[in-house]
């Protein structure tokens, strides 16, 4: 059976399992279940300057249950970089640019040792929109993407938008375009039973205050929360409530200062930090619509999450949002609060139009994680 090495160092020190860690977990547990590849999970250890071998079963259990058993996952066996076997596959699908083992260091070694490299690139926001990112992260991403472009046998992306962005980047820097395959992510997350019983009372209270628009995602500049706040303050105060659900990210001091200074803060406009999955599920199910004004997204999972609950989506008109939402969403020009307010006012005033929008999202069937895993496996085997 073909060996596939996965460096999961970042997942092994992570504290939250949404976004990329969640994607990695959904994929690997299915690959392991299929049993066609021998997955070898490894974690960089700075004391030994080597990869620690992780216990497969325990790591898969962790992916499945998210129960923190990380001590039991770690074995006391190590391999050096050069001991990654010839003709095996090194599949990078974690947040590898944050890893201590720089890909500009590791990939040439692997290549020299005839290891096939497959890199899953979720997006290249750090390259095309560095203004929204931490500059040290950007430098690390340049290192990672550069290495992937030079050394990867195959690059997997999750959207046509990211494929186009990488190809355009290659053309502009005059380097050969690598082989890139698109594998969309799944959206069929496991539903918990009795989820509503676990919802915090404060969340239920917000929902009880009346119709609200929901925005889900980390509070960070590229998500453009400030546009929603401006739309509320200029056009929609007293017409509909707003809820921002997401962790507080970096460089958002101005936004939070404006938000908390608003007279309707906590009584018309809320920020829900540290919401559980059950809280977010409850907020989705009860919202009037999900608004998604981001400048750029890697994938736009909240759009899928809203559709799964048959909730209308009003999104900024970007390539990735169009690709993910298709004809089901309503789009507005990026950064145009007046147009956004016009759409919302129109829906509030015309019940029929709102019903028609709800009809559009009925019967949405997302790609499944099983589909994703099957496609990933096919791509991995194709490099041999």
């Amino acid at each position: 059976m073909r060996k596939v090495y996965l460096d999961v160092s970042m997942v092994m020190i992570g504290t939250s399992f949404t976004g990329i860690p969640r994607t990695l977990m959904e994929i690997v547990k299915r690959l392991e279940q299929k049993g066609n590849l021998k997955l070898v999970f490894i974690e960089y250890d700075s004391k030994r300057d080597a990869y620690r071998l992780l216990r497969t079963k325990e790591f898969i259990d962790f992916c499945d249950t998210k129960t923190d058993n990380r001590k039991s996952i770690r074995s006391d066996r190590f391999i050096t970089f050069n001991e990654i076997e010839e003709n095996s596959i090194f599949f990078d699908c974690d947040t590898a640019w944050k890893n201590r083992t720089r890909r500009s260091f590791l990939y040439p070694l692997l290549k020299q040792n005839k290891v096939k490299i497959v890199t899953l690139i979720y997006d290249i926001i750090s390259i095309d929109y560095p203004q929204f990112c931490d500059k040290s992260d950007v430098m690390n991403f340049v290192d990672y993407l550069g290495a992937a472009l030079i050394y990867a046998n195959k690059i997997i992306v999750t959207s046509g938008d990211t494929k186009d962005a990488i190809e355009s980047q290659c053309s502009s820097i005059g380097t050969e375009i690598p082989e890139i395959s698109i594998v969309p992510l799944g959206g069929d997350f496991k539903k918990k039973e009795n989820a509503e019983e676990n919802v915090q009372s404060s969340i239920k209270e917000i929902v009880s205050k009346g119709k609200y628009l929901l925005m889900v995602g980390t509070i960070e500049p590229r998500k453009n929360h400030k546009l929603l706040l401006e739309t509320y303050q200029k056009f929609l105060r007293d017409k509909i409530n707003f809820v921002f659900a997401g962790f507080s990210g970096q460089a958002m001091e101005d936004f939070f200062a404006k938000l908390t200074a608003d007279p309707d803060y906590q009584n018309g406009i809320w920020h829900v930090d540290n919401a559980s999955d059950d809280d977010v599920d409850y907020l989705y199910k009860n919202c009037y619509a999900m608004v998604f004004p981001s400048y750029i997204e890697g994938y736009g999972l909240p759009i899928i999450e809203a559709f799964l609950r048959e909730i209308p989506v009003i999104a900024s008109d970007t390539g990735i949002n169009r690709e993910i939402a298709g004809e089901r969403a309503v789009f507005f020009e990026q950064d145009n609060s007046e147009e956004l307010a016009g759409i919302i006012n129109n829906l509030l005033e015309n019940e029929e139009e709102y019903k028609a929008l709800r009809e559009r999202v009925k019967g949405y069937v997302p790609k499944t994680w099983d589909d994703t895993a099957i496609a990933i496996e096919k791509q991995l085997l194709s490099v041999l």
Partner: protein, 154 residues
């Protein structure tokens, strides 16, 4: 393994694109290109001084920070290093918690660069502080306190 010239052009192309995009958006990239290019291919632990001893000024500083810590220097760190010699900069960096945490070994260097007591203590403390449970708890603390903790172990 040192990258060849053709490969370095890929990294340089990406760097320049990022720098230009930031400029168009009214932001500056606080990183010298030569410093960045010299950080390409750095090993995680054993770092050879030969790889960057010939760099000067901003290039040396950017490169040292990227090689050791995979981050750019903060304004106050740049200010602090502005008047220091290369040897003093290396000693300053080796006394940071992150140097011990990462277990960095600077090789091919004639200067005596070893983590100081502060670095060693914080390095040991970080083992405890980096437990996922404690980090999860810390993430619930106010942003100011979180920044203070991050700064201590930087």
């Amino acid at each position: 393994m040192p990258a060849n010239e053709k490969d370095l052009k890929v990294y340089a192309g990406l760097f320049e694109h990022v720098k230009e995009t930031l400029k168009e958006n009214g932001q500056m990239l606080n990183c010298d290109e030569t410093g960045f290019i010299n950080s390409i291919g750095t090993a995680p632990k054993k770092i050879s001084y030969k790889e960057f001893e010939n760099l000067e000024g901003e290039a040396f500083l950017s490169c040292a920070f990227l090689k050791f810590f995979q981050r750019l220097p903060l304004d106050e760190e740049k200010e602090k290093c502005a008047s220091l010699s290369k040897e003093e900069i290396l000693k300053y960096l080796s006394n940071k918690a992150s140097y011990s945490i990462r277990g960095i070994e600077l090789t091919d260097c004639t200067y005596k660069v070893k983590p100081g007591l502060r670095g060693k203590i914080l390095g040991k403390a970080s083992v405890v502080a980096s437990s996922p449970k404690l980090r999860k708890t810390a993430k619930k603390m106010p942003a100011g306190i979180q920044n203070k903790i991050r700064g201590t172990f930087r």
